[in-house]
Symmetry: C2
Subunit: 160 residues, 2 copies
């Protein structure tokens, strides 16, 4: 990648600000998305202006493209969302490890994205995906991460 | 409510820690949920131990109980989750206003909850709900908050 468009670990969120690296060198990141505008534009506008939180993240819900089943809830920074839109494969940001990750890179559960939606205030996205590999989405081994129901205060596994 | 079990605005998250009020007085909150354990318990255990983030919140996805359509993504603190489980009506926590709110209290779009699920690491919950009132869930007027599809980088309203 060219210098100037390379994701840089000191930039969080990856949001296109002019940044100083402390040695007088400045570079301008590619702006992946415009900044959010007022409510009317956020809610009814035609421009994707993700409303990243203080950590530079939006929530991302993945549902199965064929069944609508909710598979998982994860997080995206600007780079993850941009890569998801550009490649058609779901990328997320790990809050625990603080790294970008491509879903399925090790498990084979690549998520081919058939549709991306955004909610009214643009702080959550909804992906319709087709999981590859064994067809699952959860590292525990279930098809969906939501394999437990709360019943009388207890959790019951029910992967139906 | 009895003193000692009353939610207190200085406690965030409402998580049951022993807290000092600064004048030497200490009280113990009712523990709404046990603290999260190790991964094996979080993932396969039968105990609901929500994994609240640094702000005391978990993500909550609401889907329509009859159609499975994803309606909205919101947030819950311990009190909102407890009230949702105890009353069968969805309660959330507003990050912007920093208050607990009952969905539909002003709009009439009360959400009757038919099922609550939790994900593998217990930092997200999935509600199956039946919206009352006009049957919608979004303050903008659409049935679902996810009424816009990203197409060629633009947002297109498509409430299908």
């Amino acid at each position: 990648m060219e210098r100037g468009t390379t994701p840089h670990p000191t930039l969080s969120p990856w949001h296109g600000e002019r940044v100083s690296e402390g040695d007088g060198f400045e570079m301008t990141m590619t702006l992946p998305f415009p900044s959010p505008g007022p409510a009317a534009e956020l809610e009814r506008g035609a421009v994707l202006t993700p409303n990243f939180n203080a950590d530079g993240l939006v929530a991302a819900i993945a549902v199965h493209a064929d069944t609508g089943e909710v598979l998982m809830l994860a997080w995206m920074n600007a780079q993850a969302l941009r890569l998801t839109l550009d490649t058609g494969e779901a990328h997320y940001f790990s809050r625990g490890r603080q790294v970008l990750w491509k879903k399925g890179e090790t498990s084979g559960q690549i998520q081919q994205v058939t549709e991306v939606r955004v909610d009214c205030d643009q702080d959550a996205v909804l992906l319709k995906v087709r999981p590859q590999g064994d067809g699952g989405a959860c590292h525990v081994g279930f098809r969906s991460c939501f394999y437990r129901v709360v019943e009388d205060g207890r959790l019951v596994e029910r992967a139906d």
